[in-house]
Symmetry: C2
Subunit: 332 residues, 2 copies
Amino acid sequence: MTSDRYREAGVDLTAAETTVERIGKAVRSTHDERVISEHGSFGGLFRLDTPEATETLVASSDGVGTKTKVATALGRYRGLGEDLVNHCLNDILTQGAEPLFFLDYLASSRLDPQVVEEVVAGIAAACRASGMPLLGGETAELPGVYRAGELDIVGTVVGRRAYPYLSQVRPARPGDRLLALASGGLQTNGFSLARTVLEGRYQQPFSGTTVGAALLAPHRSFLTAVRPLLTAGIPVGLAHVTGGGIPGNLPRALPPTVGARVHLGSWEVPEIFAEIERQGAVPPADMRAVFNLGVGFIVVCPAERIGEARKRCPEPLSEIGEVVAAPGVRFV
Amino acid sequence: MTSDRYREAGVDLTAAETTVERIGKAVRSTHDERVISEHGSFGGLFRLDTPEATETLVASSDGVGTKTKVATALGRYRGLGEDLVNHCLNDILTQGAEPLFFLDYLASSRLDPQVVEEVVAGIAAACRASGMPLLGGETAELPGVYRAGELDIVGTVVGRRAYPYLSQVRPARPGDRLLALASGGLQTNGFSLARTVLEGRYQQPFSGTTVGAALLAPHRSFLTAVRPLLTAGIPVGLAHVTGGGIPGNLPRALPPTVGARVHLGSWEVPEIFAEIERQGAVPPADMRAVFNLGVGFIVVCPAERIGEARKRCPEPLSEIGEVVAAPGVRFV
């Protein structure tokens, strides 16, 4: 998990290797038999043993990156709250978890009650939409830590593993198909690059809206779409496409011995990505390594169950590729 | 809980009242019968019903305020990790909870692997000391959000209510005594004021150490001290003395109909507080409203069980006052 944290944050792993190793060692030094997370998993898994029963709790903390900078530039904060909840929620969904509750943290150099209200309204709306109480949180005013007018928000979701999947069903294997759920935009990743390319153009008309509004398109929750698939025991792997794009996240849903082939052109890429690529002259490989490119979530599905998956899922599933014997993700 | 968030952050409640009300309303709109937190509680309580059993989970997210600024000024980061864990841990301890697991978030304008390593080492050490795995976390590099060289850290603890107390034993009532556990320093609160007064003097010798080192004295965990009291069902209220000092936190451990009288001089006030008061010419009432003044945690104890409490507790308990019929906290 630790090295994933670095990869997502864009730290040069080669240089930092020994530090990263030491951090991983420190984290593992706290673990015992109750920690049952698989390697590289999106959420931490904890076995709660009580005299009566055993539950598997799944938890994840995350932020929304520098999407906050676009929100502050446009003065639109509500979406950040939804982004935060849905990002966390999708992370534990990859572990077959139903959300139990959410906690938030919001900090700024100076707390603007209006801003806090908008962010919390967004968090509350997304929590209600997933049937999860906002159980607690903290608001902090930290002058001298944050730049004037900027804020950071952090969310933590706790859920319970409600469905068997992956190791419990069977691991993904060559021939399994990749079914994609649409992201509709950047979700919460790639904003450092996107802002470099598009800063100062947020108000500009773009595709029926503005560049800024397109960038702020909400991070979707995939709970409603994936739940019926989990109920039917269909997925053999689930990936939330966050920082690192498909190559950085799909392998986390696969055994280390296999890989994936992804068919370019097999799904709809939202226009905002073409705009970033064009305006920034960003090489296609970089685009794929940074952005989700329209694929928000990937369900790894046995080939023979695709029809059933499509019938059960309340939204379209694009077949974008398949699991192959060679590790790594190849775009063809 | 929402108004506590504001109070701790020092927001003017009079001005922001309607916004605060709207935020509270948004938070409550997500609640259902599974949320069983008492008003103003330090941690959120969630009832987890499974076919086999019912567990009460207790969770809290928090940061360490601008203590990070003192740490960055001195280049000493390890303590921040311990501060973070123990602050969260003590919050849920007030609910009679044993910790289950912890998650962390660390963000900065630029991630310095060395700094991350030190912070995580501190988090891991404090997690090990409380028998709680560091289940997951996130590290984010957010240029343009944080000031150069500054960082924020956020922790989330999840525990389970393992002991009956308060409503389950009986509510606190006039005549109950206040037993204090020593903080040994500022813990993680009051740093905005402390820094204003002492900035630039961190290297100066002070009381066998330096001003900076005295400010960075770790936030203690009270788990080991309080656990044997909870096991014996002694406490009828527990308060973690954080932002807002004793007047801001002790009432959260009491029914709204009663209050407390605190005897000044009945416990040892660490020298760093006298130094802040003197150097900043801070009025005593302000000192009491901002700092813990050496009282890290308060156990509200039936008078007849004080002897037993002292015998069971592995560290000294100072009797600093009693519960009285009139609401509010009065220092005498």
